[in-house]
C-alpha cells in the first residue's frame, strides 16, 4: 500500500507513505529522495499526528540530498532491543544495502541496539547519528521525565563499531550539553558536535545547521571532519 503526502511549506520534496509487515508488526514509513540511504527514527509522537505520519523539517532537508526512509517506531511498550531487531529486518526488506541511521531523543536506545548488533564489516548500517540522545547523562544528573537507565545497553556501548555522530544543542535545558562527552567516552568511534543556539529540539531551532552536519556525516562518515569547501577567493 502506498500514498503520497505533501510536504509542509511548499517544499519540492514529496514523500510517499508505505506499510510493511515484520515480526507481526505493521510498520509504516515515509520515503523520498535519491542517493545514499538515510534511515530516520524519530519519537513516535513527533512522527505521528491525527492525520498519521508526517514529515519533519529534517526529513525534507535530507531528502534533497539523500534517499530518506523515515520509520514509524512501533509503540506498545516493546523492549528497545526487540524493536531494533525488527527495524533491522525491515531495513533489509525494503532493499537498503548500506545506510546511515539517524535517531532523535526517544529513539536513541533502539538506534544504539541496531548499531551494536551490526557486524563490524559489510553492508547494512554503516553510520549512526544521535540527535539529543537520552541514554547517557553526565555524572550526578537526573534524567528527563520517564528516563530510565539501561545498564545492559551502557555496558555494550564499547562494542559499537560504526562511526557515530552525537549532536547536542548548547541551550538544551533537558539534557545538559555535557551529555555529549559521555558518548565520546563510551563509544570507540564517536564524534560529538555542539549545535550553537539550539535547545533540545535541534531540528526545530537550527534545522539547516543540523542538516549540514548530518549531511556531511552521511556522505563522508569519519572523513566529515576534513574541510572540503573551496575557500579560494579568486581561483
Amino acid at each position: 500500500m502506498s500514498n503520497t503526502t505533501q510536504p509542509p511549506g511548499g517544499s519540492s520534496v514529496a514523500f510517499t507513505e508505505h506499510v510493511i509487515q515484520a515480526d507481526g508488526l505493521r510498520i509504516r514509513y515515509l520515503e523520498a529522495g535519491h542517493g545514499s540511504s538515510v534511515v530516520v527514527l524519530q519519537d513516535t509522537l513527533e512522527v505521528l499526528d491525527a492525520e498519521g505520519l508526517h514529515q519533519s523539517p529534517l526529513h525534507t532537508l535530507l531528502a534533497r540530498q539523500f534517499r530518506v526512509i523515515a520509520f514509524e517506531v512501533p509503540g506498545g511498550g516493546h523492549p528497545p532491543h526487540d524493536v531494533a531487531r525488527t527495524l533491522t529486518q525491515v531495513s533489509l526488506a525494503v532493499g537498503l544495502q548500506q545506510y546511515v541511521l539517524v535517531s532523535s531523543a526517544a529513539g536513541t536506545s533502539i538506534a544504539l541496539w541496531q548499531a551494536i548488533d551490526t557486524p563490524q564489516q559489510g553492508d547494512g548500517l554503516v553510520g549512526l547519528v544521535l540527535i539529543s540522545p537520552t541514554v547517557l547523562l553526565p555524572e550526578g544528573r537526573s534524567g528527563p521525565s520517564g528516563y530510565a537507565r539501561d545498564p545492559e545497553l551502557e555496558r555494550r556501548l564499547g562494542d559499537l563499531q560504526v562511526a557515530t555522530l552525537v549532536l547536542v544543542g548548547t541551550n538544551d535545558e533537558i539534557l545538559p550539553p555535557e551529555t555529549g562527552q559521555r558518548y565520546v567516552e563510551h563509544i570507540p568511534n564517536c564524534y560529538y558536535v555542539l549545535v550553537y543556539d539550539a535547545g533540545h529540539a535541534i531540528e526545530t531551532d537550527r534545522p539547516d545547521a543540523l542538516c549540514t552536519a548530518v549531511g556531511d556525516f552521511v556522505e563522508r562518515r569519519d572523513a566529515f571532519i576534513v574541510e572540503q569547501n573551496n575557500t579560494a577567493i579568486n581561483p
Binding site: L167, T170, P177, G180, Q181, V184, E185, Y191, Y192, V193, L194, V195, Y196, D197, R206, A209, L210, T212, A213, F224, I225, V226, E227
Partner: protein, 368 residues
C-alpha cells in the same frame, strides 16, 4: 576597590598622532621610537606591579599608535614575564574578528605562563576596526556572542568536540594546554550596551564598561544586575569593571594642566575620520562615550572622592586606569601613576570590600 593598570603601549612620538584619521599610515612609524615605546610600556607594567596595582591589562586594537597591541595576547605574554604578582588582564581580544579557537588556545597558554593569573574580557571592537580584517559590521554583535560561548566551551570540554554555529564551524576542537584556573580564567564581557549586559548576565560573565560617563555606567550596571537576578545569581563588585583615563597631580591646578594637554586632537572622532568614516560610530559615541576625557582628574584628595562617588553611583568594584594620553610625556604619565599608587590607591581599597568578601569565590561559583 581593586585597581588595574591599563598598559596601552602607546607610540611615544607626537608626529604619529597629528594625522587625525584612522588608520594611521605605517610610514609614520620609526623603529627607534617603537623600541623606546615598548620598553617604556614594560617598565610601566613592572612598576605597576611593584606599586601594588591588582591587575595589569592590555587590549587588542588595530592600526593606531595609541594602542600598539594588535594582538593583546602576544603583549600579555610579554607582560607575564615582567609582572610577577598582579593578575594579567586581557581586556580584551576582539572576538568578533578572530578565530575563537585560536583565542581559546592563546588564553590557555597565557593562563599557564601566568601560573593562573589570567583574566579575560571578550571585546567586540570599535566599528572602524571591523575594516581591519574585513568583518561585516552588521554581524559583529552576533559573532561576538557566539565566539564567546565557543571559547568558554573550548576551555572546558574534556573531549574533542565539534561546533556547528551560525558563524563558526569546527569539526575538531581539543584545546591544549588546559586552563590552570578551573573551570577557566575569570571572564568578562564588554558591556557598553544594554544588549551586551543582558548577554553577559545570561552567560554568568562579569561586565566591563569603558569610558562612559557615570550616569551611563550606572544604567549599564543597573540593567546588568537586574538581568543577573533573572538568571538566579548576583554579581560581586569585582565582576563590575570600568576602564578610563586618569590624571593625578600634586594639586588640582597641576592636574588641570595635565588634563588640558592630555589628548592630541579628538581620540574618539579621529577613529571615524579617514577610512574610519566608512563605518558609522555607535549611537553611544554620540551620547557621551567619554573616550577623550580623563574620568578621574585632580589632586589625590579629589580623585579619592571622585572614585568613591563613582562606586556609589555605579557599584563598580574594579577600575582599569590609564595614565598617559598621547599629549603627556612619559615622565608626566609616570608621575601621575606614582601619585595615584601612593596617595590614592591605599585610600580606596576599602570601597566595596565588605560586599565582595561575602562572595569570596565568585568566579568559581558563577563561571561554570
Amino acid at each position: 576597590m581593586q585597581v588595574s593598570f591599563f598598559c596601552t603601549n602607546s607610540y611615544l612620538s607626537g608626529e604619529a598622532y597629528r594625522q587625525h584619521v584612522w588608520p594611521t599610515p605605517p610610514a609614520l612609524y620609526r623603529s627607534e621610537v617603537g623600541l623606546r615605546s615598548v620598553d617604556f610600556a614594560l617598565e610601566q607594567a613592572t612598576l605597576a606591579d611593584e606599586l601594588g596595582f591588582d591587575w595589569v591589562s592590555c587590549s587588542e586594537h588595530h592600526y593606531t599608535p595609541l594602542l600598539q597591541t594588535p594582538n593583546a595576547n602576544v603583549f600579555a605574554a610579554a607582560l607575564s614575564q615582567v609582572v610577577r604578582r598582579a593578575k594579567i588582564a586581557v581586556l580584551g581580544p576582539l572576538v568578533s574578528m578572530n578565530n575563537p579557537v585560536r583565542i581559546a588556545e592563546e588564553m590557555a597558554m597565557l593562563d599557564q605562563l601566568t601560573h593562573g593569573r589570567l583574566i579575560v574580557l571578550f571585546l567586540r571592537g570599535t566599528p572602524n576596526e571591523f575594516l581591519a580584517y574585513g568583518t561585516n559590521p552588521d554581524e559583529t554583535r552576533a559573532r561576538t556572542q557566539e565566539a564567546s560561548v565557543l571559547i568558554s566551551r573550548a576551555l572546558t570540554e574534556p573531549q574533542p568536540f565539534g561546533w556547528e554555529g551560525r558563524f563558526y564551524r569546527f569539526r575538531t576542537v581539543a584545546v591544549w594546554p588546559g586552563s590552570i584556573q578551573q573551570p577557566h580564567p575569570p571572564l568578562y564581557y564588554s558591556g557598553n550596551s544594554l544588549e551586551s549586559a543582558t548577554f553577559a548576565a545570561a552567560q554568568h560573565m562579569g561586565l566591563g564598561v569603558s569610558f562612559y560617563r557615570p550616569p551611563l555606567v550606572a544604567q549599564m550596571t543597573g540593567h546588568y544586575k537586574q538581568e543577573c537576578a533573572k538568571h538566579g545569581w548576583q554579581p560581586s563588585p569585582d565582576q563590575l569593571l570600568y576602564r578610563c583615563f586618569v590624571a593625578v597631580g600634586e594639586d588640582d591646578q597641576e592636574a588641570a594642566a595635565l588634563q588640558a594637554k592630555y589628548f592630541v586632537g579628538d581620540p574618539t572622532g579621529d577613529l571615524f575620520r579617514g577610512r574610519g568614516a566608512a563605518v558609522p560610530p555607535p549611537t553611544q559615541t554620540q551620547a557621551g562615550f567619554g573616550l577623550g576625557e580623563p574620568r578621574f582628574c585632580g589632586s589625590p584628595d579629589a580623585v579619592v572622592q571622585q572614585i568613591t562617588d563613582f562606586h556609589e553611583t555605579t557599584g563598580v568594584g574594579v577600575i582599569d586606569v590609564a595614565f598617559g594620553g598621547a599629549g603627556l610625556s612619559p615622565e608626566e604619565a609616570m608621575k601621575s601613576m606614582r601619585l595615584f599608587a601612593t596617595e590614592v590607591l591605599p585610600r580606596i581599597r576599602h570601597i566595596g570590600v565588605s560586599a565582595a568578601s561575602e562572595q569570596p569565590d565568585t568566579y568559581a561559583a558563577t563561571s561554570a
